[in-house]
């Protein structure tokens, strides 16, 4: 018991001192002190609930991806069967996309093998899984249905693409350290610290920004807009900002241009009207198609459609040959700038809705830190006082161990680059109250052993030995609960779990070997025949 080899002392002190040193940068930042640049600075991150900021959970609909995929397949099948010349053409009819399946009838049953050969390439995809199932019913009806695996792939790649689009859009805000990660199959988490205007953020990342140019056939009547479709064209309503309620236009269904061929979009000001506009530029292919279209239909109206709403429908007075154009609408500088960002980052491949948002203002977070630290300080003092008046010298060892424990906990969290959240502060308080439990068990056992008549050294030795069983068992059950806590719940709760679990390890270290070393040292030096406990 009394013999502590030097290497062991050095190791124990080394670990404790290292833990404390690791805590210093975080302490400096929590108390708003400057930390010298020359020194390494592992710091705990402050959670959004303490630093202020927005947490936004976006969700896509699997059904929407499925529907879009079906639409693409219809287009693909039609174009494959049309062939390059009339001789090759396979005629089909009765095309339907009901019930999530694409089905069509071959006009001539003799074409089955040829049709199958042409479609084969479309349904096998590029991966190793079978993406579509093809059935031929009644001799000449083809039914194509999506396989679950194929849809999984499509959803996954749509979400990956959406992730990169959102990353681009948020980068343009220039906020510090945003986090954008996928969660589950159809979700994306966006966390932006220290943001002042969450509405603007949601506006920016939530919009699909699908841009289209289509030739206007005529104005739509209110009844047509309400019904949503007309024969021989597509009804598109005016956007709310345009201020024409119930209004809309009928545009040509096919043959338009979409935003995928844009290379650049930038907010600008129209020199004539002084209005905010968005200047756009197309790539080579887009420019060619834009030139063709505007040359062919010069003098007619074109609708600029954003997310299925018309933002303006100007008359094309002259052909646009250089691939440069301008979108005007009822923009403010802010909305024009947003649109420019959205257009340059590309359209989201799938609509995303905000299903959860948590925003904390910077003032509330700062107040929470102040109140939390104050409460933690008072709690620590009370625990120390209680331990000292109950266990005397042994209580002092326990309180010194407690302080080292708190610092090491902070230090290890900094090293792990963990996040301190508001419930994490409660985790610190809980750890402070529970960490001394081990010392209580040890000290009570020593008291008991002394009462049974054991000599001081034997009593202390037995105290540590007999108490450690219950200490380890208790810590392991706490660990189990802590792991389940971590796997449950959102960010702040995870922050609570991290503190509790790391705190278990540091408290076992400080309460057992560290205090034992001090007690042994004292006993060896003084050799007391009795102890006040």
């Amino acid at each position: 018991m009394l013999e502590f080899p030097t290497w062991k002392k050095v190791m124990l002190w080394g670990i404790a001192v290292l833990g404390i040193l690791l805590a210093l940068p975080s302490l400096a930042s929590l108390s708003n002190q400057q930390w010298p640049d020359a020194l390494p600075e592992p710091t705990v991150n402050l959670g959004l609930d303490l630093a202020g900021g927005s947490h936004i959970l976006l969700e896509a609909e699997r059904e929407q991806v499925a529907a879009k995929r079906l639409e693409d397949m219809e287009e693909g099948v039609r174009s494959a069967l049309r062939g390059r010349d009339v001789a090759e053409r396979i005629r089909i009819g009765d095309v339907s996309t009901d019930d999530g399946q694409l089905s069509f009838l071959l006009n001539d049953a003799g074409d089955i093998d040829r049709a199958r050969a042409k479609i084969e390439g479309l349904i096998n995809g590029t991966g190793t899984v079978r993406e579509w199932d093809l059935q031929v019913v009644d001799g000449q009806r083809f039914v194509l249905s999506q396989t679950e695996a194929g849809l999984d792939n499509a959803v996954s790649s749509a979400m990956d693409a959406a992730l990169s689009v959102i990353n681009d859009r948020i980068d343009s805000l220039g906020t510090r350290e945003p986090t954008v990660i996928r969660q589950g199959d159809t979700r994306i988490v966006v966390q932006v610290p220290g943001l002042q205007d969450p509405e603007a953020l949601k506006e920016l990342i939530g919009k699909t920004a699908q841009l289209e140019f289509k030739r206007v056939l005529r104005d739509a009547t209110q009844a047509e807009v309400a019904r949503g479709f007309v024969a021989g064209g597509e009804v598109v309503p005016y956007s709310v900002e345009e201020g024409i309620p119930g209004g809309g236009v009928v545009v040509e269904r096919l043959g338009g241009i979409d935003g995928s061929t844009l290379t650049n979009a930038r907010q600008g000001v129209d020199p004539q009207t002084n209005e905010a506009v968005v200047n756009i530029a197309f790539n080579a292919e887009g420019s060619r198609r834009f030139a063709n279209l505007t040359t062919k239909y010069v003098g007619e109206r074109f609708a600029i459609i954003l997310d299925d709403q018309v933002i303006s429908a100007p008359v094309m007075r002259e052909p646009i040959l250089n691939g440069q154009s301008q979108i005007s609408g009822s923009f403010t500088v802010q909305t024009a700038n947003n649109l420019a960002i959205q257009l340059s980052s590309g359209a989201l491949p799938v609509d995303l809705s905000v299903v959860e948002e948590r925003t904390v203002g910077p003032d509330l977070g700062a107040d929470s830190i102040k109140q939390g630290l104050l409460a933690m300080g008072i709690g620590t003092l009370l625990v120390m006082l209680l331990m000292m008046i109950t266990y005397g010298r042994f209580g002092i060892y326990a309180t010194v161990a407690l302080v080292i424990n708190v610092l090491m906990l902070l230090g290890i969290m900094a090293l792990m680059n963990a996040t301190l959240t508001l419930p994490g502060i409660a985790g610190f308080v809980l750890t402070i109250g529970a960490a001394v439990d081990a010392n209580v068990l040890i000290n009570e056992r020593i008291r008991e052993e002394r009462k049974r008549g054991r000599r001081v050294i034997a009593a202390v030795e037995n105290g540590y030995k007999e108490a450690s069983r219950a200490i380890y068992d208790a810590n392991i059950t706490n660990f189990i609960a802590g792991v389940l806590l971590f796997s449950f719940g959102s960010g702040p709760i995870k922050g609570f779990a991290v503190v509790l679990v790391v705190g278990l390890f540091t408290s076992v270290f400080t309460a057992l070997p560290l205090t034992r070393m001090w007690v042994a040292n004292w006993l060896r030096k003084t050799r007391p025949s009795d102890i006040n406990l």
């Binding site: 969700e59 904390v360 203002g361 003032d363 529970a434 068992d473 208790a474 059950t477 709760i493």
Partner: protein
Amino acid sequence: MKLLKLVPDDTNIKFLKWRVPFFVVSLLLIAASWALVMTKGLNYGVDFAGGLEVRATFTESSEAPIPQLRTDIEGLGYGSPVVQRFGEDNQVSIRVRLPDEVSADKEAAQEAATAVIEELQGNYPDIRIDGNDNVSGKVSGEFREDAVYALIYAMLAVALYIWIRFEWQFGVGALFALFHDVSLTLGMFALFQLEFSLQIIAAILAIIGYSLNDTIVVYDRIRENLKKYRKMHLPDLLDLSVNETLARTVMTSLTLLVALLPLLFFGPASLFGLTAGITFGLFVGTYSSVYMASPLLVWMGVNSDSFVPEETVADRQEKKLRGEV
């Protein structure tokens, strides 16, 4: 210096004498808790009910105009909001639970929050929006489901560990004690209609870990005494074990309590539910380690053989054959 001894030496309280009435009372409390949860229901916050919560400070006033706020928000047509003081007198929390037909739309909570915040900013120039939580019906449903599973798994996992470390009777005893603690905590939240949020589940999970600390200390002592006093009548042995560890039970609960109380009274308002939950769980957990976890062992028939290896019984017979006993 004279040291403080909260529990006098050599107490001999007959805890187990009253085990039947106490056990009946505990069962009744569990039943009452669940009855409260079923009838009065838990006062779900936005995490579990969906909807929105906005926290705000009136920077120029000493007191928030709570009745006026209630009328303002009600005028928006989302039903009647819960408007409460939150922290200081000039700080409020406004909670709106959306009607079912509205919350079917995924973005409904978002739109309602925008409307509420615009209404507030329009009506009160000195208002500072400190934060808002908007949770759609879908996400809140998932939270409810996850919470139930997390609680069940945590109780089972911890009880399983106790079974492995001790005997099955101890595992069952611990599980029952945990069920008692969780039930009563839920009952308290239903009785006082305190806001029930994700933080409360975190509190209960923490309780599941910590309330067993005392139980383990008592169980460890029971195991030690079972080996030591082979012939002692079981209720007496349990009484002895509880009495011997009483100072520890009181002291460990007290250190946790003095650490938690300042947080409860001076801590940030957003942590009140979490701290209140843990503090309450601390009391029921301490009670249950004495009155639930131990008496159950009597009824499930723990005896010294539980911890005596089989060989020892064989050894004894061998000794008998050799005529040594």
